[in-house]
Amino acid sequence: MTQVHELEATVDELKHLFSERAEAGETTLLNLGPQHPSTHGVLRLMLELDGEEVVRCVPDIGFLHTGIEKNMEAKTYLKALVMTDRMDYLNNMGNNLTYCLAIEKLVDVEVPERAQVLRVICAELQRIASHLVWLGTSGIDLNASSMLLYCFREREHILDMFEMISGQRMMTSYIRPGGVWRDVPAGFVPAVKDFLAYMPAKLDDYERLLTKNPLFLGRTVDVGILEPDYALAIGATGGTLRGSGINYDVRRAMPYSGYANYDFDVPLEDGCDVYARYRVRMREFRESLKIIEQAIGRLKPGPVMTEDRKVAPPPRSELSQSMEALIHHFKLWTEGFSAPDGEVYLATESPRGELGCYLVGDGGPKPRRVHFRTPSFLNLQALPHLGEGYFVADLVASIGSIDIVLGDIDR
């Protein structure tokens, strides 16, 4: 009997989220998801429908919550790195980068030039790979099924390059505190150059398929309007915000890893609709290619890991000759390095928006608190506003356009 009482209480708690017409039985309540392909993962939407029109839309999240922030508190700074890969599973390099930059700020470590350039190349390749998944999946939502096949074909090239440098296609853990894991193999730079030559023609193909396609325009223009003021108030960032004409890109506003020295544009559109967000991301592909091209030119030989032995392990060859190296090696892999009792916040531009890491040290080798300000979490808050008043099919187009990753939301 206690079970029944608990459930009734839960329904009462939810009543205020829906209109009074729902209680009178004039409108229909419908669950969309969590196991529905158009919700891009395990997002559950509680919809109140008047016919096919969305009256209320209440997102229910947490199905992919794995307690990453809690688990990271129980691990040393270095060992917790692998967990960041698993947050936003389309932006593994970017998550590594954000976390490592926060650690480097907290313990005050300099990163060598070559490692910074490699980080930029990886982050931008990852942005292209993530945008390809966005284009493919939101294309399939809008019945452009061939997009998924094309996009995943191109993405495979990028994942192959990641496998080349880190041994893993997705969970790379390549970017480490103080630099990157190892220098890239000889085949990496030619592979990136081949990709730079290959990709622009493919982007032209996508644009030819979609940008002026009347069916695509009919599904996206004037759908899911996100006013600039509302977008700012609700905390939207990334392509979702720039589709509403607000010029905010963390790479410009608070440059990291030497982004201040690269020449690139921040694409802006003022349509505020699904189509504007599509145009922004399509242009971001080309900007990322531009940044990678410049970065490849700046790739000079040099160390890829800091010389600070408190943070980075000594080379294997030193262990048999140097007492200090042996001690550092042992200390680093058993106890880890300690960070001061302070707090830092560091943000990077993930493919979805501002990805921030709030790191609180307690003087020991484990963090007191790791918090990730994830872009999808805040962007998804805008979804009820985007969907209400439109048809269910338009709501699906809106979900695709804010480019959410549920691993990023639930952590």
Binding site: K70, A74, L232, I234, Y248, E343, Y358
Partner: protein, 173 residues
């Protein structure tokens, strides 16, 4: 005078005694303020045209257990036009961790406060929808507190299987 210095001076003159501490660390400014003035300070930060903190970039709760005051909430107001952000921090007692909601000032705080409630058990007065967000609605406890165990599975052997089984929550036959 940088924008953040100007902000601190404005808070000091408008709310005397509100600022308890100003910490500089790695180029970031943390301003600790009294928790009862939080919403007033935040509203001033947003509405004052000179300050213009139009975005709340982040909100996170920290648990300092077993120290007292136990909880802290870090707000990160961001003035997008001036590209300035600083950390606003309030401390809350461990027994009654209640704070006023800032979702009336910056609507983006809505879900982040729900997350702080769900994970840390901090109640936000005046919040429009104070429900759990990540954990199931019938979950007991607040998993992100320091005194909440990480939840390793106990290894069952034939000599202790019944004892462990008794403590498990699933339905018994």
């Amino acid at each position: 005078m940088s924008h953040i210095e100007k902000t601190i001076a404005t808070i000091q003159s408008a709310f005397p005694g509100a600022i308890q501490e100003v910490i500089e660390f790695r180029g970031e400014t943390t301003v600790v303020i009294a928790s009862d003035l939080l919403v007033d300070v935040c509203r001033r930060l947003r509405d004052d045209a000179e300050l213009d903190y139009n975005v709340l970039a982040d909100l996170a709760a920290v648990d300092y257990w077993p120290a007292e005051p136990r909880f802290a909430i870090s707000y990160l107001p961001y003035a997008m036009q001036r590209n300035a952000r600083f950390r606003l921090k309030v401390f809350l007692p461990g027994k009654t961790p209640n704070a006023e909601t800032v979702s009336t000032v910056w609507p983006s705080a809505n879900w982040q406060e729900r997350e702080a409630y769900d994970m840390m058990g901090i109640k936000f007065n005046g919040h429009p929808d104070m429900r759990r967000i990540l954990m199931p609605a019938d979950w007991e406890g607040h998993p992100h507190r320091k005194d909440y165990p990480l939840g390793y599975e106990e290894v069952q052997f034939s000599f202790n299987i019944e004892e462990i089984d008794k403590r498990k929550k699933y339905a018994k036959s």
